[in-house]
Amino acid sequence: MNTNNHATFLTISAYLTGFSETDLLGTGMVDPYYAAIRDNNDPEVLGYFYQEAATILADSHGDEAEINEAIAARLIPDSCYNGIAKTIILLWYTGNYGNDVLSTDSYKEALVWNVAGAHPPGAKQPGYGSWALPPFSV
């Protein structure tokens, strides 16, 4: 594993998703998603992507607004790095790579259910009558 790229993947994922690194680590999906991105992209393009992401993170010294501005300009446009940034966001939020569900775990850990105040249908069931109350997290 390229440890630099792996660290960059986690940190840039946090900025791309709006979730903290701790939240992302808590899903247990950092490694499988890092691997999915590695295995499904041109290594050269992916190398440039990580290089750019690392540069953005280093240059802005943790200034969130500056990082977001740089991400919007240099990672998000479809012309940049074969759309890898958007792929990473969709992977985290839906558990899908393209149209395919990556794994049963990715389905259950999709972040969209968290922001919905819900749970993945068919998993992590919150118990009898829970649906009659506001979500636990609210």
């Binding site: 105040g117 069931q125 919150p126 009898y128 009659a132």
Partner: protein, 628 residues
């Protein structure tokens, strides 16, 4: 057991077949059950049942489109219809053959069902409102369709049996609406086996959104007050202490099926693999297509409690022809093709023999098998009058968060338009409030994510946007009652066969003006509701959707409800119906048909409960016939 001639041969292990098998075997009759699906799916031992069900669940998790049949095997030897196969039909000479159903149109039939152990109860939602008394008298009351050959009140004792077997959770006292009063419709002091499933936070949000002010809407210059009902449903909740029935038993003396009384408290029926799993709905929010803990009823629970000393089951056995004696017209056997494994074109033929035969293979398969066998059709009604609830959906954003995507698919319905004089002009409908956001029409919330990301959103902005819109999603159904029409039908055509050489159903289907008028009316009601609720309407209909109609210049889309009924209608004379009030075919003294195909009309209820009640009535008739 294995014998040469059984008392009864049943085709299909869905709820109709399973209720029949349980009732007959417990009355001491020898029964052979033929099931088209895989052996693994019928496992009754705990380990086998658990392993097989976990395989379904895993398949569901990994399915890209989580449609009703997504967890279950679709076999070339016994294919199932699938909503993913719905495609435009260029013209009637070139039907859509994308899926198992051959769709001759002009509009593609929009529902599917499951061919396999347990049948469509594996993916049903579990809503179980009874039909209304007026539903049984559509011709008399409203001058449309046909009357049933008996009244609602004749069916009442059998409704109670069905509610016992399925295990209904609900509150009788709360059942209101046009043509519904608790005592009139349910009898004095009647209660369901379990207390009502709690209504969702979303339901409460809507009910309280007008701050106690009653919502009224106008339709055809008449004012209607909107009411809300907690939907009775076949999923486990807290046992109702006042419920005192144990189960259904055959009383030889009175020659009737009876609900036996007990002093014991009702015990919710858990999963096949563990009686303590699934004793309550756990809020998995995936009832369609699969309840992971089996708190939702499925027919395998019934089949498991049949008397297995009196029951033989042959799986992977697809009924291909019903054989009969041309002199007596009696059925002499059911030919079936038993395949080796799910993809194998290799099969062996067998003939199942009994004194009485029961087809319980689904409305579409029953009709197809009768047509393929050239039987039971002196009325020319076999395959005709195919009906479904045509579901017009409307969706929008609530002014405050109702937090959908939690709980059973629907826990509350608006009964206001289930009955009324308007049925002379257009269809009645029931309006379930959907607990699962915009998932059905837009594939939300996944599509909400991809739309936002497509617009360039990321990070906290994306998260805030999604946590604002997804919890405010509202989806209403307008499940419109389709009337029987001879042209909406199942036929067969030698050009279209499956891998085993069995016919594929050819479906002819259209939306009459009666239905189109109901879409227009329902949309008018929806618009007024959204205004009253202060909901921002995002409903959008498209002529690109194969299931669309254009009425008075406006396009409406509809979806199927999975309520496939009417293809071998019951009636009071042999010229206009396929089966008599006992559900025995007019043409063959030892052939019964069970299932939704018998229903002369659909009403606005999800049909499984009514169909199960009818199956008890048929079982009683069969027991009488066997003993006399």
């Amino acid at each position: 057991m294995k014998c040469d001639e059984y008392d009864v041969v049943i085709v299909g292990s869905g709820i109709a077949g399973s209720v029949m098998a349980k009732t007959l075997t417990r009355a001491g009759k020898k029964v052979l059950l033929l099931e088209a699906g895989l052996q693994a799916g019928i496992a009754m031992d705990k380990e086998g049942a658990y392993q097989n069900y976990q395989f379904y669940l895993d398949t569901y998790y990994k399915a890209a489109a989580k449609v009703p049949n997504s967890p279950y095997p679709n076999l070339p030897d016994a294919p199932s219809p699938d909503v993913l196969d719905i495609a435009p039909i260029p013209n009637s000479c070139s039907p859509s053959t994308k899926g198992y159903l051959v769709q001759a149109g002009p509009i593609p039939f929009a529902s599917d069902c499951y061919r396999g152990p347990g049948g469509t109860t594996l993916h049903w939602l579990g809503s179980t409102p009874r039909m209304l008394p007026n539903d049984f008298q559509m011709q008399t009351k409203y001058g449309v369709a046909v009357d049933w050959p008996f009244t609602y009140y004749d069916l009442m004792p059998y409704y109670e049996m069905a509610e016992n077997e399925i295990g209904i959770a609900g509150d009788v006292k709360e059942q209101i609406g046009p043509d519904v009063e608790p005592v009139k419709n349910y009898g004095k002091d009647y209660v369901f086996p379990m207390q009502k499933i709690p209504q969702s936070y979303l339901d409460q949000t809507i009910i309280e959104i007008t701050n106690g002010k009653t919502v009224t809407v106008e339709l055809n210059k008449k004012e209607y007050t909107i009411s809300y009902v907690a939907t009775p449903q076949g999923r486990n909740s807290i046992p109702e202490p006042a419920y005192k029935y144990a189960g259904v038993a055959w009383n030889k003396k009175t020659q009737k099926l009876e609900l036996e009384k007990t002093d014991a408290e009702y015990d919710p029926v858990g999963s096949l693999w563990d009686p303590y799993t699934g004793q309550r709905c756990e809020g998995n929010s995936s009832c369609v297509p699969i309840c992971p803990v089996q708190a939702k009823y499925n027919a395998l629970k019934t089949l498991r409690t049949a008397d297995h000393d009196n029951l033989d089951i042959i799986t992977q056995a697809v009924a291909s022809q019903v054989l009969y004696d041309k002199g007596s017209m009696d059925i002499t056997g059911i030919e079936y093709k038993k395949y080796r494994y799910g993809n194998s074109p290799i099969y062996e033929k067998g003939i199942a023999k009994g004194k009485i035969y029961v087809l319980a293979a689904s409305a579409i398969e029953n009709a197809k098998l009768l047509l393929a066998s050239g039987i039971a059709n002196s009325s020319d009604q076999v395959g005709r009058n195919l009906m479904d609830h045509m579901v017009m959906l409307t969706w929008g954003l609530l002014p405050k968060k109702g937090f959908p995507y939690r709980g059973p698919g629907s826990t509350t319905n608006i009964p206001t338009f289930r009955d009324g004089d308007f049925r002379k002009e257009h269809a009645a409908w029931i309006s379930p409030i959907d607990n699962w956001g915009w998932a059905w029409p837009t594939f939300a919330p996944g599509s909400d994510v991809s739309n936002a990301v497509g617009q360039g959103m990321f990070g906290k902005q994306l998260r805030d946007h999604l946590s604002d819109i997804i919890p405010r999603q509202l989806l209403l159904h307008f499940e419109c009652e389709q009337l029987p029409e001879p042209g909406n039908r199942v036929t067969i055509d030698p050009r279209y066969k499956d891998q085993l050489g069995n016919y594929r159903p050819v479906i002819h289907y259209n939306a009459s003006e009666y239905m189109q008028r109901s879409f227009e009316a329902a949309k008018k009601v929806s618009d007024q509701l959204y205004k009253a609720y202060n909901v921002q309407d995002f409903t959008s209909y498209s002529a690109q959707n194969p299931d669309h109609v254009q009425y008075k210049g406006k396009v409406y889309n509809f979806a199927g409800a999975g309520h496939i009924v009417g293809t071998h209608r019951m009636g009071s004379d042999s010229n206009s119906s396929v089966v008599n009030p006992d559900q025995r075919t007019w043409d063959h003294g030892n052939l019964y048909l069970v299932g939704c195909g018998n229903m002369p009309t659909l009403g606005t209820s999800n049909p499984t409960l009514t169909m199960t009640a009818l199956t008890y009535k048929a079982a009683e008739a069969i027991l009488k016939q066997l003993e006399n």
